[in-house]
Protein backbone atom coordinates (compact mmCIF):
# COMPACT_ATOMS: atom_id res chain seq x y z
CA UNK A 1 0.00 0.00 0.00
CA UNK A 2 1.21 3.52 -0.58
CA UNK A 3 -0.79 6.52 0.53
CA UNK A 4 0.26 9.92 -0.66
CA UNK A 5 3.49 10.86 1.12
CA UNK A 6 3.70 7.63 3.09
CA UNK A 7 7.10 5.96 3.23
CA UNK A 8 7.02 2.39 1.94
CA UNK A 9 7.48 -0.45 4.42
CA UNK A 10 10.18 -1.80 2.11
CA UNK A 11 12.28 1.28 2.84
CA UNK A 12 12.15 0.57 6.59
CA UNK A 13 13.04 -3.06 5.95
CA UNK A 14 15.92 -2.06 3.68
CA UNK A 15 17.34 0.42 6.19
CA UNK A 16 17.23 -2.11 9.01
CA UNK A 17 18.82 -4.85 6.90
CA UNK A 18 21.55 -2.46 5.82
CA UNK A 19 22.37 -1.61 9.43
CA UNK A 20 22.28 -5.28 10.39
CA UNK A 21 24.52 -6.18 7.47
CA UNK A 22 27.15 -3.63 8.50
CA UNK A 23 27.09 -4.86 12.12
CA UNK A 24 27.20 -8.57 11.25
CA UNK A 25 29.75 -8.28 8.45
CA UNK A 26 31.86 -6.05 10.70
CA UNK A 27 31.78 -8.57 13.52
CA UNK A 28 32.71 -11.31 11.03
CA UNK A 29 35.73 -9.35 9.88
CA UNK A 30 36.68 -8.68 13.50
CA UNK A 31 36.41 -12.40 14.20
CA UNK A 32 38.77 -13.03 11.30
CA UNK A 33 41.27 -10.51 12.67
CA UNK A 34 40.98 -11.50 16.32
CA UNK A 35 39.71 -15.09 16.36
CA UNK A 36 40.68 -15.81 19.92
CA UNK A 37 38.42 -13.10 21.32
CA UNK A 38 35.47 -14.30 19.27
CA UNK A 39 36.08 -17.92 20.19
CA UNK A 40 36.16 -17.01 23.86
CA UNK A 41 32.81 -15.32 23.49
CA UNK A 42 31.35 -18.53 22.08
CA UNK A 43 32.99 -20.86 24.54
CA UNK A 44 29.88 -20.95 26.73
CA UNK A 45 27.89 -22.54 23.91
CA UNK A 46 29.15 -26.03 24.60
CA UNK A 47 27.20 -27.40 21.63
CA UNK A 48 29.15 -25.32 19.17
CA UNK A 49 30.14 -27.07 15.94
CA UNK A 50 33.80 -26.29 15.27
CA UNK A 51 33.41 -26.73 11.52
CA UNK A 52 31.36 -23.54 11.29
CA UNK A 53 34.39 -21.40 12.20
CA UNK A 54 36.03 -22.05 8.85
CA UNK A 55 32.93 -21.00 6.91
CA UNK A 56 33.10 -17.30 7.94
CA UNK A 57 29.33 -17.21 7.85
CA UNK A 58 29.03 -13.76 9.43
CA UNK A 59 30.99 -12.17 6.57
CA UNK A 60 28.97 -13.54 3.68
CA UNK A 61 25.63 -13.41 5.46
CA UNK A 62 26.37 -9.83 6.52
CA UNK A 63 27.36 -9.00 2.95
CA UNK A 64 24.09 -10.47 1.70
CA UNK A 65 22.15 -8.29 4.14
CA UNK A 66 24.10 -5.23 3.00
CA UNK A 67 23.25 -5.91 -0.65
CA UNK A 68 19.57 -6.57 0.08
CA UNK A 69 19.34 -3.65 2.48
CA UNK A 70 21.02 -1.23 0.06
CA UNK A 71 18.73 -2.31 -2.78
CA UNK A 72 15.51 -1.79 -0.82
CA UNK A 73 16.72 1.38 0.86
CA UNK A 74 17.56 3.13 -2.39
CA UNK A 75 14.72 1.70 -4.47
CA UNK A 76 12.05 2.73 -1.94
CA UNK A 77 13.70 5.83 -0.49
CA UNK A 78 11.26 8.74 -0.06
CA UNK A 79 11.82 11.28 -2.79
CA UNK A 80 10.58 14.81 -3.26
CA UNK A 81 7.51 15.16 -5.46
CA UNK A 82 6.64 11.51 -5.22
Amino acid sequence: MQRSGMISIWFFIGALLLAYGVLICGSGVYELVAPSAAAAARAEANLHWDGVDGLHVAIWWGALLIVMGAFYTFKFAPRKGK
Binding site: I13, L16, A19, L23, A58, G62
Partner: protein, 564 residues
Protein backbone atom coordinates in the same frame (compact mmCIF):
# COMPACT_ATOMS: atom_id res chain seq x y z
CA UNK B 1 18.31 -7.35 31.50
CA UNK B 2 20.93 -10.03 31.70
CA UNK B 3 21.09 -12.15 34.77
CA UNK B 4 24.00 -14.10 36.07
CA UNK B 5 21.91 -17.28 36.16
CA UNK B 6 22.84 -20.45 34.29
CA UNK B 7 22.16 -20.14 30.57
CA UNK B 8 22.88 -21.80 27.29
CA UNK B 9 24.70 -18.87 25.72
CA UNK B 10 25.49 -15.21 26.13
CA UNK B 11 25.15 -12.28 23.79
CA UNK B 12 27.90 -9.94 22.65
CA UNK B 13 27.52 -6.18 22.37
CA UNK B 14 26.85 -6.56 18.61
CA UNK B 15 24.01 -8.99 19.34
CA UNK B 16 22.49 -6.59 21.84
CA UNK B 17 22.82 -3.71 19.35
CA UNK B 18 20.90 -5.77 16.77
CA UNK B 19 18.10 -6.50 19.23
CA UNK B 20 17.90 -2.86 20.38
CA UNK B 21 17.78 -1.67 16.74
CA UNK B 22 14.85 -4.01 16.14
CA UNK B 23 12.88 -2.52 19.04
CA UNK B 24 13.65 1.00 17.82
CA UNK B 25 12.48 0.08 14.30
CA UNK B 26 9.12 -1.42 15.30
CA UNK B 27 8.35 1.45 17.68
CA UNK B 28 9.45 3.99 15.08
CA UNK B 29 7.08 2.47 12.52
CA UNK B 30 4.24 2.64 15.06
CA UNK B 31 4.86 6.31 15.83
CA UNK B 32 5.27 7.14 12.14
CA UNK B 33 2.00 5.47 11.13
CA UNK B 34 -0.13 7.07 13.84
CA UNK B 35 -0.64 10.10 11.60
CA UNK B 36 -2.22 7.83 8.95
CA UNK B 37 -4.62 6.17 11.39
CA UNK B 38 -7.56 8.50 11.92
CA UNK B 39 -10.77 6.64 11.05
CA UNK B 40 -12.16 3.30 12.20
CA UNK B 41 -11.51 1.89 8.74
CA UNK B 42 -7.84 2.95 9.11
CA UNK B 43 -7.40 1.60 12.61
CA UNK B 44 -9.28 -1.69 12.32
CA UNK B 45 -8.83 -2.55 8.63
CA UNK B 46 -5.73 -0.57 7.62
CA UNK B 47 -7.91 1.55 5.33
CA UNK B 48 -8.58 -1.54 3.17
CA UNK B 49 -5.62 -0.44 1.04
CA UNK B 50 -3.12 -3.31 1.37
CA UNK B 51 -1.48 -4.76 -1.70
CA UNK B 52 -1.69 -8.53 -2.21
CA UNK B 53 1.96 -8.95 -1.20
CA UNK B 54 1.72 -6.96 2.03
CA UNK B 55 -1.60 -8.58 3.01
CA UNK B 56 -0.27 -12.04 2.07
CA UNK B 57 2.96 -11.75 4.05
CA UNK B 58 1.23 -10.33 7.12
CA UNK B 59 -1.45 -13.05 6.80
CA UNK B 60 1.33 -15.59 7.23
CA UNK B 61 3.42 -13.64 9.75
CA UNK B 62 0.46 -13.26 12.13
CA UNK B 63 0.46 -17.06 12.33
CA UNK B 64 4.22 -17.36 12.92
CA UNK B 65 4.09 -16.86 16.69
CA UNK B 66 6.69 -18.13 19.12
CA UNK B 67 4.75 -21.35 19.77
CA UNK B 68 4.56 -21.87 16.03
CA UNK B 69 8.31 -21.42 15.51
CA UNK B 70 9.76 -23.13 18.54
CA UNK B 71 6.90 -25.52 19.22
CA UNK B 72 6.90 -27.07 15.75
CA UNK B 73 10.69 -27.21 15.58
CA UNK B 74 10.44 -29.16 18.87
CA UNK B 75 7.66 -31.33 17.41
CA UNK B 76 9.92 -32.14 14.45
CA UNK B 77 12.63 -33.29 16.87
CA UNK B 78 10.03 -35.38 18.71
CA UNK B 79 7.97 -36.77 15.81
CA UNK B 80 10.17 -36.24 12.77
CA UNK B 81 8.92 -34.95 9.44
CA UNK B 82 5.31 -35.81 10.36
CA UNK B 83 5.26 -32.36 11.94
CA UNK B 84 5.39 -30.88 8.42
CA UNK B 85 1.78 -32.03 7.91
CA UNK B 86 0.75 -28.99 9.95
CA UNK B 87 2.40 -26.77 7.30
CA UNK B 88 1.31 -28.63 4.19
CA UNK B 89 -1.92 -30.66 4.29
CA UNK B 90 -2.79 -28.74 7.46
CA UNK B 91 -2.54 -25.35 5.75
CA UNK B 92 -2.15 -25.19 1.98
CA UNK B 93 -5.54 -26.63 0.83
CA UNK B 94 -7.32 -24.44 3.40
CA UNK B 95 -5.48 -21.28 2.36
CA UNK B 96 -6.29 -21.90 -1.29
CA UNK B 97 -9.92 -22.67 -0.41
CA UNK B 98 -10.09 -19.39 1.49
CA UNK B 99 -8.67 -17.53 -1.49
CA UNK B 100 -10.87 -18.97 -4.18
CA UNK B 101 -14.16 -19.88 -2.46
CA UNK B 102 -14.62 -17.87 0.74
CA UNK B 103 -12.86 -14.54 0.31
CA UNK B 104 -15.41 -13.17 -2.17
CA UNK B 105 -18.15 -13.39 0.49
CA UNK B 106 -16.04 -11.88 3.27
CA UNK B 107 -14.88 -9.11 0.97
CA UNK B 108 -18.12 -8.29 -0.87
CA UNK B 109 -20.15 -8.28 2.36
CA UNK B 110 -17.80 -5.52 3.62
CA UNK B 111 -17.81 -7.11 7.05
CA UNK B 112 -15.31 -5.87 9.65
CA UNK B 113 -14.82 -9.32 11.14
CA UNK B 114 -15.79 -13.00 11.00
CA UNK B 115 -18.31 -12.57 13.85
CA UNK B 116 -19.58 -9.61 11.82
CA UNK B 117 -20.22 -11.96 8.89
CA UNK B 118 -22.12 -14.31 11.22
CA UNK B 119 -24.29 -11.37 12.28
CA UNK B 120 -25.14 -10.56 8.67
CA UNK B 121 -25.82 -14.19 7.80
CA UNK B 122 -27.31 -15.66 11.00
CA UNK B 123 -28.13 -12.77 13.33
CA UNK B 124 -27.00 -11.50 16.73
CA UNK B 125 -26.94 -14.74 18.77
CA UNK B 126 -24.41 -16.40 16.44
CA UNK B 127 -22.28 -13.25 16.39
CA UNK B 128 -22.35 -12.87 20.18
CA UNK B 129 -21.36 -16.50 20.76
CA UNK B 130 -18.56 -16.33 18.21
CA UNK B 131 -17.25 -12.90 19.29
CA UNK B 132 -17.11 -13.70 23.00
CA UNK B 133 -15.45 -17.08 22.49
CA UNK B 134 -12.97 -15.58 20.01
CA UNK B 135 -12.06 -12.65 22.28
CA UNK B 136 -11.60 -14.93 25.25
CA UNK B 137 -9.47 -17.47 23.40
CA UNK B 138 -7.38 -14.86 21.60
CA UNK B 139 -6.06 -13.13 24.71
CA UNK B 140 -5.47 -16.46 26.41
CA UNK B 141 -3.45 -17.73 23.47
CA UNK B 142 -1.56 -14.46 23.34
CA UNK B 143 -0.59 -14.88 27.01
CA UNK B 144 0.52 -18.46 26.46
CA UNK B 145 2.68 -17.41 23.52
CA UNK B 146 4.13 -14.67 25.68
CA UNK B 147 5.03 -17.07 28.47
CA UNK B 148 6.52 -19.59 26.03
CA UNK B 149 8.75 -16.91 24.56
CA UNK B 150 9.84 -15.51 27.93
CA UNK B 151 10.63 -19.02 29.16
CA UNK B 152 12.93 -19.68 26.21
CA UNK B 153 14.68 -16.34 26.69
CA UNK B 154 15.23 -17.27 30.32
CA UNK B 155 16.56 -20.75 29.58
CA UNK B 156 18.69 -19.74 26.62
CA UNK B 157 19.90 -16.30 27.62
CA UNK B 158 19.18 -16.12 31.33
CA UNK B 159 16.86 -13.12 30.89
CA UNK B 160 14.35 -12.41 33.62
CA UNK B 161 10.90 -13.74 32.65
CA UNK B 162 8.95 -10.74 33.94
CA UNK B 163 11.19 -8.23 32.22
CA UNK B 164 10.97 -10.13 28.90
CA UNK B 165 7.18 -10.26 29.16
CA UNK B 166 6.74 -6.58 30.04
CA UNK B 167 9.27 -5.11 27.58
CA UNK B 168 7.97 -7.14 24.62
CA UNK B 169 4.31 -6.61 25.51
CA UNK B 170 4.56 -2.87 26.06
CA UNK B 171 6.33 -2.57 22.71
CA UNK B 172 3.50 -4.45 20.96
CA UNK B 173 0.85 -2.45 22.83
CA UNK B 174 2.52 0.82 21.79
CA UNK B 175 2.91 0.13 18.11
CA UNK B 176 -0.51 -1.51 17.66
CA UNK B 177 -2.20 1.09 19.88
CA UNK B 178 -0.66 3.92 17.88
CA UNK B 179 -1.07 2.68 14.33
CA UNK B 180 -3.74 -0.01 14.65
CA UNK B 181 -3.89 -2.75 12.05
CA UNK B 182 -1.82 -0.61 9.66
CA UNK B 183 1.08 -0.63 12.09
CA UNK B 184 0.57 -4.30 12.97
CA UNK B 185 0.65 -5.27 9.28
CA UNK B 186 3.69 -3.13 8.43
CA UNK B 187 5.60 -4.58 11.35
CA UNK B 188 4.48 -8.10 10.48
CA UNK B 189 6.05 -7.75 7.03
CA UNK B 190 9.28 -6.53 8.66
CA UNK B 191 9.12 -9.37 11.19
CA UNK B 192 8.47 -11.91 8.44
CA UNK B 193 11.68 -10.86 6.66
CA UNK B 194 13.67 -10.98 9.93
CA UNK B 195 12.28 -14.41 10.89
CA UNK B 196 13.48 -15.81 7.56
CA UNK B 197 16.88 -14.14 7.59
CA UNK B 198 17.49 -15.11 11.21
CA UNK B 199 16.35 -18.72 11.06
CA UNK B 200 17.42 -19.69 7.54
CA UNK B 201 21.10 -19.90 8.51
CA UNK B 202 20.46 -22.77 10.90
CA UNK B 203 19.08 -24.91 8.09
CA UNK B 204 21.80 -23.99 5.61
CA UNK B 205 24.73 -24.60 7.97
CA UNK B 206 23.00 -27.64 9.45
CA UNK B 207 22.79 -29.23 6.01
CA UNK B 208 26.48 -28.45 5.48
CA UNK B 209 27.36 -30.18 8.73
CA UNK B 210 25.09 -33.18 8.10
CA UNK B 211 26.31 -33.68 4.53
CA UNK B 212 23.15 -32.57 2.74
CA UNK B 213 19.66 -34.09 2.93
CA UNK B 214 20.84 -37.66 2.32
CA UNK B 215 23.58 -37.30 4.92
CA UNK B 216 21.06 -36.01 7.44
CA UNK B 217 18.68 -38.93 6.81
CA UNK B 218 21.55 -41.41 7.15
CA UNK B 219 22.62 -39.86 10.47
CA UNK B 220 19.05 -39.96 11.82
CA UNK B 221 18.75 -43.65 10.88
CA UNK B 222 22.10 -44.33 12.54
CA UNK B 223 21.08 -42.46 15.72
CA UNK B 224 17.58 -43.95 15.91
CA UNK B 225 17.60 -47.37 14.23
CA UNK B 226 14.18 -48.90 13.62
CA UNK B 227 12.36 -45.57 13.87
CA UNK B 228 11.03 -43.68 10.88
CA UNK B 229 11.41 -39.92 11.22
CA UNK B 230 11.76 -38.99 7.57
CA UNK B 231 8.58 -40.12 5.77
CA UNK B 232 5.32 -38.22 5.77
CA UNK B 233 2.68 -40.65 4.53
CA UNK B 234 4.15 -44.15 4.29
CA UNK B 235 3.96 -44.64 8.08
CA UNK B 236 0.39 -43.40 8.47
CA UNK B 237 -1.35 -46.71 7.68
CA UNK B 238 -1.60 -47.57 11.37
CA UNK B 239 -1.45 -45.73 14.71
CA UNK B 240 1.42 -48.02 15.79
CA UNK B 241 3.73 -47.35 12.85
CA UNK B 242 4.76 -43.77 13.59
CA UNK B 243 6.08 -41.80 16.59
CA UNK B 244 2.99 -39.58 16.70
CA UNK B 245 0.50 -42.42 17.21
CA UNK B 246 -1.75 -41.14 14.45
CA UNK B 247 -3.07 -42.42 11.12
CA UNK B 248 -4.06 -40.96 7.78
CA UNK B 249 -7.80 -40.46 8.42
CA UNK B 250 -6.99 -38.14 11.31
CA UNK B 251 -4.45 -36.23 9.24
CA UNK B 252 -6.54 -35.88 6.09
CA UNK B 253 -10.01 -35.31 7.55
CA UNK B 254 -9.36 -34.11 11.11
CA UNK B 255 -6.37 -31.87 10.36
CA UNK B 256 -6.72 -31.20 6.63
CA UNK B 257 -10.47 -30.60 6.56
CA UNK B 258 -11.75 -29.37 9.91
CA UNK B 259 -8.83 -28.03 12.00
CA UNK B 260 -7.00 -26.47 9.09
CA UNK B 261 -10.04 -25.15 7.24
CA UNK B 262 -11.44 -23.89 10.52
CA UNK B 263 -8.29 -22.02 11.44
CA UNK B 264 -7.28 -20.58 8.08
CA UNK B 265 -10.76 -19.65 6.85
CA UNK B 266 -12.62 -18.53 9.98
CA UNK B 267 -10.05 -17.43 12.56
CA UNK B 268 -10.27 -13.66 12.42
CA UNK B 269 -6.63 -13.34 13.47
CA UNK B 270 -5.60 -14.33 9.95
CA UNK B 271 -8.74 -13.41 7.97
CA UNK B 272 -8.45 -9.79 9.16
CA UNK B 273 -5.21 -9.36 7.18
CA UNK B 274 -6.84 -10.56 3.98
CA UNK B 275 -9.96 -8.41 4.15
CA UNK B 276 -7.71 -5.36 4.55
CA UNK B 277 -6.66 -5.80 0.90
CA UNK B 278 -7.27 -2.96 -1.54
CA UNK B 279 -9.59 -4.89 -3.90
CA UNK B 280 -11.11 -8.33 -4.39
CA UNK B 281 -8.31 -9.58 -6.64
CA UNK B 282 -5.66 -8.56 -4.07
CA UNK B 283 -7.74 -10.20 -1.32
CA UNK B 284 -7.86 -13.46 -3.30
CA UNK B 285 -4.16 -13.32 -4.17
CA UNK B 286 -3.05 -12.64 -0.58
CA UNK B 287 -3.79 -16.15 0.77
CA UNK B 288 -2.25 -17.67 -2.38
CA UNK B 289 0.98 -15.73 -1.74
CA UNK B 290 0.76 -16.73 1.93
CA UNK B 291 0.32 -20.38 0.91
CA UNK B 292 3.39 -20.27 -1.35
CA UNK B 293 5.53 -19.03 1.56
CA UNK B 294 3.83 -21.32 4.05
CA UNK B 295 5.00 -24.28 1.97
CA UNK B 296 8.57 -23.07 2.50
CA UNK B 297 8.30 -22.51 6.27
CA UNK B 298 9.23 -26.16 7.10
CA UNK B 299 12.67 -25.26 5.76
CA UNK B 300 13.23 -22.92 8.73
CA UNK B 301 11.10 -24.73 11.33
CA UNK B 302 10.88 -28.48 10.63
CA UNK B 303 14.35 -28.90 9.13
CA UNK B 304 16.17 -27.56 12.25
CA UNK B 305 14.28 -30.16 14.31
CA UNK B 306 15.33 -32.93 11.93
CA UNK B 307 18.89 -31.63 11.92
CA UNK B 308 18.81 -31.77 15.71
CA UNK B 309 17.96 -35.47 15.45
CA UNK B 310 20.90 -35.92 13.11
CA UNK B 311 23.70 -33.91 14.72
CA UNK B 312 22.89 -33.63 18.44
CA UNK B 313 23.78 -36.50 20.78
CA UNK B 314 21.07 -39.17 20.83
CA UNK B 315 18.25 -38.33 23.26
CA UNK B 316 19.81 -34.94 24.03
CA UNK B 317 16.42 -33.24 24.25
CA UNK B 318 13.52 -34.63 26.27
CA UNK B 319 9.86 -33.87 27.02
CA UNK B 320 8.98 -31.08 29.50
CA UNK B 321 8.15 -33.69 32.13
CA UNK B 322 11.48 -35.52 31.79
CA UNK B 323 13.80 -32.54 32.33
CA UNK B 324 16.50 -33.32 34.90
CA UNK B 325 20.10 -32.38 35.73
CA UNK B 326 21.22 -35.02 33.22
CA UNK B 327 18.80 -33.80 30.52
CA UNK B 328 18.28 -30.09 31.16
CA UNK B 329 16.79 -29.16 27.78
CA UNK B 330 13.34 -29.85 26.31
CA UNK B 331 12.26 -30.49 22.71
CA UNK B 332 10.97 -26.91 22.49
CA UNK B 333 14.50 -25.55 22.84
CA UNK B 334 15.83 -27.25 19.72
CA UNK B 335 15.70 -24.08 17.58
CA UNK B 336 17.68 -21.85 19.99
CA UNK B 337 20.08 -24.73 20.65
CA UNK B 338 20.77 -25.06 16.94
CA UNK B 339 21.26 -21.29 16.80
CA UNK B 340 23.82 -21.61 19.58
CA UNK B 341 25.52 -24.41 17.67
CA UNK B 342 26.06 -22.43 14.49
CA UNK B 343 25.86 -18.70 15.15
CA UNK B 344 28.63 -16.46 16.41
CA UNK B 345 28.47 -12.80 17.46
CA UNK B 346 26.09 -10.78 15.29
CA UNK B 347 24.36 -13.78 13.77
CA UNK B 348 23.24 -14.86 17.23
CA UNK B 349 21.63 -11.43 17.71
CA UNK B 350 19.87 -11.82 14.36
CA UNK B 351 18.64 -15.29 15.33
CA UNK B 352 17.32 -14.13 18.71
CA UNK B 353 15.72 -11.14 16.97
CA UNK B 354 13.96 -13.63 14.66
CA UNK B 355 12.51 -15.44 17.67
CA UNK B 356 11.40 -12.17 19.30
CA UNK B 357 9.96 -10.98 15.97
CA UNK B 358 8.00 -14.23 15.70
CA UNK B 359 6.57 -13.70 19.15
CA UNK B 360 5.67 -10.08 18.46
CA UNK B 361 4.02 -10.74 15.11
CA UNK B 362 1.87 -13.44 16.68
CA UNK B 363 0.97 -11.27 19.63
CA UNK B 364 0.21 -8.19 17.50
CA UNK B 365 -2.03 -10.39 15.35
CA UNK B 366 -3.94 -11.56 18.40
CA UNK B 367 -4.21 -8.12 19.93
CA UNK B 368 -5.31 -6.27 16.78
CA UNK B 369 -7.94 -8.93 16.02
CA UNK B 370 -9.12 -8.81 19.64
CA UNK B 371 -9.45 -5.00 19.52
CA UNK B 372 -11.55 -5.18 16.34
CA UNK B 373 -13.88 -7.94 17.54
CA UNK B 374 -14.29 -6.35 20.96
CA UNK B 375 -15.00 -2.89 19.56
CA UNK B 376 -17.31 -3.81 16.68
CA UNK B 377 -18.88 -7.10 17.74
CA UNK B 378 -19.17 -6.73 21.49
CA UNK B 379 -18.94 -3.05 22.53
CA UNK B 380 -20.82 -1.53 19.58
CA UNK B 381 -23.28 -4.41 19.26
CA UNK B 382 -24.14 -4.74 22.94
CA UNK B 383 -23.28 -1.51 24.72
CA UNK B 384 -23.16 1.55 22.46
CA UNK B 385 -24.62 1.26 18.98
CA UNK B 386 -24.51 4.82 17.66
CA UNK B 387 -21.31 6.50 18.83
CA UNK B 388 -19.01 8.47 16.53
CA UNK B 389 -16.29 6.83 14.47
CA UNK B 390 -13.65 8.65 16.57
CA UNK B 391 -15.16 7.12 19.70
CA UNK B 392 -14.79 3.60 18.32
CA UNK B 393 -11.16 4.29 17.32
CA UNK B 394 -10.51 5.46 20.86
CA UNK B 395 -12.17 2.31 22.24
CA UNK B 396 -10.01 0.23 19.85
CA UNK B 397 -6.85 1.88 21.20
CA UNK B 398 -7.85 1.21 24.79
CA UNK B 399 -8.83 -2.36 23.89
CA UNK B 400 -5.35 -2.90 22.52
CA UNK B 401 -3.89 -1.92 25.88
CA UNK B 402 -6.52 -3.98 27.69
CA UNK B 403 -5.84 -7.02 25.49
CA UNK B 404 -2.11 -6.80 26.22
CA UNK B 405 -2.70 -6.46 29.96
CA UNK B 406 -5.05 -9.46 30.03
CA UNK B 407 -2.49 -11.41 27.99
CA UNK B 408 0.19 -10.54 30.56
CA UNK B 409 -2.16 -11.75 33.30
CA UNK B 410 -2.64 -15.00 31.40
CA UNK B 411 1.11 -15.40 31.05
CA UNK B 412 1.49 -15.19 34.84
CA UNK B 413 -1.41 -17.59 35.30
CA UNK B 414 0.29 -20.12 33.02
CA UNK B 415 3.53 -19.62 34.92
CA UNK B 416 1.88 -20.86 38.12
CA UNK B 417 -0.50 -23.44 36.64
CA UNK B 418 1.37 -24.95 33.71
CA UNK B 419 -1.34 -27.50 32.94
CA UNK B 420 -3.55 -24.57 31.89
CA UNK B 421 -1.51 -24.48 28.72
CA UNK B 422 -2.80 -27.93 27.73
CA UNK B 423 -6.38 -27.05 28.60
CA UNK B 424 -6.36 -23.78 26.70
CA UNK B 425 -4.89 -25.43 23.62
CA UNK B 426 -7.83 -27.82 23.77
CA UNK B 427 -10.31 -25.01 24.48
CA UNK B 428 -9.09 -23.15 21.45
CA UNK B 429 -9.71 -26.17 19.24
CA UNK B 430 -13.29 -26.46 20.55
CA UNK B 431 -14.36 -23.40 18.58
CA UNK B 432 -12.39 -23.86 15.37
CA UNK B 433 -13.88 -26.95 13.71
CA UNK B 434 -17.58 -26.18 14.37
CA UNK B 435 -17.17 -22.58 13.21
CA UNK B 436 -15.88 -23.78 9.86
CA UNK B 437 -18.99 -25.91 9.29
CA UNK B 438 -21.25 -23.01 10.27
CA UNK B 439 -19.55 -20.44 8.03
CA UNK B 440 -19.21 -22.82 5.08
CA UNK B 441 -22.87 -23.89 5.14
CA UNK B 442 -23.86 -20.26 5.56
CA UNK B 443 -21.85 -19.22 2.52
CA UNK B 444 -22.71 -22.08 0.19
CA UNK B 445 -26.27 -23.15 1.10
CA UNK B 446 -29.10 -20.63 0.83
CA UNK B 447 -31.43 -22.81 2.89
CA UNK B 448 -29.29 -22.48 6.04
CA UNK B 449 -31.36 -20.54 8.57
CA UNK B 450 -30.28 -18.28 11.47
CA UNK B 451 -31.56 -20.88 13.95
CA UNK B 452 -29.68 -23.64 12.12
CA UNK B 453 -26.45 -21.63 12.19
CA UNK B 454 -26.69 -20.83 15.89
CA UNK B 455 -27.77 -24.26 17.15
CA UNK B 456 -25.29 -26.05 14.89
CA UNK B 457 -22.43 -23.91 16.23
CA UNK B 458 -23.55 -24.49 19.80
CA UNK B 459 -24.00 -28.26 19.31
CA UNK B 460 -20.60 -28.63 17.61
CA UNK B 461 -18.81 -26.72 20.35
CA UNK B 462 -20.60 -28.55 23.16
CA UNK B 463 -19.97 -31.96 21.59
CA UNK B 464 -16.26 -31.12 21.30
CA UNK B 465 -16.12 -30.13 24.97
CA UNK B 466 -18.07 -33.29 25.86
CA UNK B 467 -15.65 -35.56 23.99
CA UNK B 468 -12.68 -33.86 25.63
CA UNK B 469 -14.19 -34.29 29.09
CA UNK B 470 -15.09 -37.93 28.38
CA UNK B 471 -11.47 -38.84 27.59
CA UNK B 472 -10.21 -36.84 30.59
CA UNK B 473 -12.54 -38.76 32.92
CA UNK B 474 -12.02 -42.13 31.23
CA UNK B 475 -8.77 -42.29 29.19
CA UNK B 476 -9.90 -45.60 27.67
CA UNK B 477 -12.62 -43.67 25.83
CA UNK B 478 -9.98 -42.59 23.33
CA UNK B 479 -10.67 -45.86 21.46
CA UNK B 480 -14.16 -44.54 20.65
CA UNK B 481 -13.15 -40.96 19.82
CA UNK B 482 -10.03 -41.81 17.79
CA UNK B 483 -11.18 -45.29 16.71
CA UNK B 484 -8.15 -47.05 18.19
CA UNK B 485 -6.77 -47.81 21.66
CA UNK B 486 -3.31 -47.06 20.25
CA UNK B 487 -4.17 -43.46 19.37
CA UNK B 488 -2.28 -40.70 21.17
CA UNK B 489 -3.23 -37.13 22.15
CA UNK B 490 -2.62 -35.63 18.72
CA UNK B 491 -4.89 -38.20 17.06
CA UNK B 492 -7.58 -37.51 19.65
CA UNK B 493 -7.44 -33.79 18.86
CA UNK B 494 -7.83 -34.46 15.14
CA UNK B 495 -10.73 -36.90 15.52
CA UNK B 496 -12.48 -34.63 18.03
CA UNK B 497 -12.32 -31.83 15.47
CA UNK B 498 -13.66 -34.18 12.79
CA UNK B 499 -16.65 -35.32 14.88
CA UNK B 500 -17.51 -31.87 16.22
CA UNK B 501 -17.38 -30.39 12.71
CA UNK B 502 -19.67 -33.13 11.42
CA UNK B 503 -22.07 -32.77 14.36
CA UNK B 504 -22.23 -29.02 13.77
CA UNK B 505 -22.99 -29.58 10.07
CA UNK B 506 -25.64 -32.22 10.82
CA UNK B 507 -27.45 -30.10 13.42
CA UNK B 508 -27.26 -27.03 11.17
CA UNK B 509 -28.84 -28.93 8.28
CA UNK B 510 -31.57 -30.57 10.37
CA UNK B 511 -32.55 -27.37 12.21
CA UNK B 512 -32.45 -25.40 8.95
CA UNK B 513 -34.82 -27.83 7.26
CA UNK B 514 -37.44 -27.34 9.97
CA UNK B 515 -37.11 -23.56 10.39
CA UNK B 516 -37.86 -20.64 8.13
CA UNK B 517 -35.02 -19.44 5.87
CA UNK B 518 -34.20 -15.81 5.20
CA UNK B 519 -35.59 -14.34 1.98
CA UNK B 520 -33.04 -14.30 -0.84
CA UNK B 521 -33.05 -10.51 -0.91
CA UNK B 522 -31.37 -10.57 2.52
CA UNK B 523 -28.67 -12.97 1.36
CA UNK B 524 -27.20 -10.80 -1.40
CA UNK B 525 -23.44 -10.47 -0.91
CA UNK B 526 -23.42 -13.24 1.68
CA UNK B 527 -24.30 -16.52 -0.02
CA UNK B 528 -23.32 -18.41 -3.16
CA UNK B 529 -26.10 -18.17 -5.72
CA UNK B 530 -27.31 -14.82 -4.38
CA UNK B 531 -24.06 -12.94 -4.92
CA UNK B 532 -22.58 -11.70 -8.14
CA UNK B 533 -18.84 -12.46 -8.04
CA UNK B 534 -16.92 -10.08 -10.34
CA UNK B 535 -15.52 -11.93 -13.36
CA UNK B 536 -11.77 -12.10 -13.93
CA UNK B 537 -12.22 -13.17 -17.53
CA UNK B 538 -10.72 -9.94 -18.88
CA UNK B 539 -7.41 -10.52 -17.06
CA UNK B 540 -4.50 -12.42 -18.61
CA UNK B 541 -4.21 -15.92 -17.17
CA UNK B 542 -1.05 -15.14 -15.20
CA UNK B 543 -2.82 -12.33 -13.33
CA UNK B 544 -5.71 -14.48 -12.14
CA UNK B 545 -5.64 -15.77 -8.53
CA UNK B 546 -7.04 -19.14 -9.67
CA UNK B 547 -4.00 -19.68 -11.90
CA UNK B 548 -1.53 -19.09 -9.07
CA UNK B 549 -3.65 -21.19 -6.73
CA UNK B 550 -3.26 -24.01 -9.25
CA UNK B 551 0.52 -23.53 -9.34
CA UNK B 552 0.73 -23.66 -5.54
CA UNK B 553 -1.56 -26.72 -5.44
CA UNK B 554 0.65 -28.52 -7.96
CA UNK B 555 3.79 -27.73 -5.91
CA UNK B 556 1.99 -29.00 -2.80
CA UNK B 557 1.22 -32.35 -4.49
CA UNK B 558 4.81 -32.69 -5.70
CA UNK B 559 6.12 -32.13 -2.14
CA UNK B 560 3.84 -34.87 -0.79
CA UNK B 561 5.19 -37.29 -3.39
CA UNK B 562 8.84 -36.36 -2.75
CA UNK B 563 8.54 -36.84 1.01
CA UNK B 564 6.01 -39.71 0.85
Amino acid sequence: MLQASSRLLSLSSVDLAIIVLYFIAVLGIGFYLKRYTKTGEDFFLAGREMTAWVAGLSFLAANLGSLELMGWAGAAYQYGILAAHWYWVGAIPAMLFLAIVMIPFYYISKTHSVPGYLKLRFGEPARAFSAISFGFMTVLMSGINMYAMALVLKVVLGWDISLSIWVSSITVALYVGLGGLLSAIFNEVLQFVLIWLGALLVSIIGLVEAGGWNGMVARIHANYPGQNFTHMWSTLGSFKDNPMGIQWVAIVFGLGVFISMGYWTTDFLVVQRVISAKDLRAAKLAPVIGAAFKMCVPFIVILPGLLGLAVLPKGFLVGENAISALHPHSYNEVLPIMLARYCGPGLMGLGITALIAGFMSGMAGNVSAFATVWTYDIYRAMFRKNASDAHYVSVGRWCTILGVLVSIGTAYLVMHFKSIMDYVQALFSFFIAPLFSTVLLGMLWKRTTPAGGFWGLLAGTMSSIGMYAWVKIDPAAIRFIALSPYAKDMAENMFRALWSGLICALVTVVVSLVTKPKPESELVGLVYGCTEIPSEGDLPVYQRPIFWAGVVAAAFVVLQIIFW
